[in-house]
Symmetry: D3
Subunit: 62 residues, 6 copies
C-alpha cells in the first residue's frame, strides 16, 4: 500500500505521467512515512465522451 488511482482526461503524454508518478510518490513517501516502493499508481485515461459534469458529456467521441 498505498494504491493510488488517477482518473483524468486522456491526452497527457508519457513524460507527464512519469513526472506525476514521481511527484505523487515523493509526496506519499515523505508525508506518509512509507517506503516509495510500496506506492502503486494507476493512471486511467478517460475519453471526454465518457465524462459528464453537470449532466453534460465533456467532449465528442474519439
Amino acid at each position: 500500500m498505498p494504491f493510488v488511482t488517477i482518473e483524468w482526461f486522456e491526452g497527457r503524454s508519457d513524460a507527464q505521467k512519469a513526472e506525476v508518478a514521481r511527484g505523487v510518490t515523493d509526496v506519499l513517501a515523505e508525508v506518509g512515512k512509507m517506503p516509495a516502493d510500496q506506492v502503486w499508481i494507476r493512471f486511467v485515461d478517460v475519453p471526454k465522451a465518457d465524462w459528464a459534469i453537470g449532466g453534460e458529456i465533456q467532449g465528442p467521441p474519439d
Copy 2:
C-alpha cells in the same frame, strides 16, 4: 462531489450516455439537494470478455 462511476457493457451509443448523464444528474441534484454542476459521472465501457457472472465470461473477445 458526488463522483458517480457507471461500469456497464460496451455498446451503448453516445446519445444513450448523454441521456443517462442528464437523468442521473437530475436525480442526484433533486433528491440529494446538491448543485448539478457538482455531479461528475464517468462511464466505463467494459467488453463482455472482461466481465464474468457466476464464473462465466459473458462474451467473446472483441
Copy 3:
C-alpha cells in the same frame, strides 16, 4: 451489469438513498434498455475530512 458507484459526502438519509436508487435504476433501465434487476448500485458515504478539492480538505474530522 451495470455496476454503479456513488461516492458522495456522508449525511444523506436512508430515504434519500432509496429515492436515488430508484431514480438511477429507472434511468438506466429505460435509456440503457436493460432489466432493472441487473442494476447494482453501491453508495459510498465519504467523510468531508477524507475529500479534498483544490488541495483543501473539505471538512473537519467527524
Copy 4:
C-alpha cells in the same frame, strides 16, 4: 454481490481470464457461502505504461 475488480497488467489470454473467473468464483461461493451466480467479476487490463511502482512507470507505451 459481491463485485470483484481485478486490475492487472494487460497480456493475459482469454483462457487465463476464464480460468481465473472460475477459480475466484469458486473460492467466494464456497468460503463466503453465497450463490455463484451472485459473483460478478470485472477484469481491467492495464498497460504497463499506466502503472507506476516506486515512482517508476512499469513499461513503455504500447
Copy 5:
C-alpha cells in the same frame, strides 16, 4: 500488481477473509503466472443499507 478489490456485504468473519485472500491469491499466482507476493487484495465490507439491486436497498441501516 495485480490489485484485487472485493466489494461484498459486511458480515463475513476475519477467518473467511483470510481464507478468501489465500484462495484468490493462489488462483492468480497459478493461472496468471505471477509471484504471490505481488497480489494485493482489498476487502470492502458494504452495509446492506448502501447496496441496491433493481432499485431496492438491500437492508435496513445498521
Copy 6:
C-alpha cells in the same frame, strides 16, 4: 477532473492528509497543466484486517 483515489492503511492523521492533498494537487496542477480547483482527491482509510498481500491479511481486526 481529475479524480484521485488514495487507498492506504488507516492511521494517518488529518494533518498528514491535508499535506498529501496539497502536495498531490500541486503536482497534478503543475505537471498536468490543469486548474487546482479541478482536482478532487478521496482518501480511503483501510483497516489492515481488510488488506492482504501475498495471501496474508496484514493486521488483526480493529
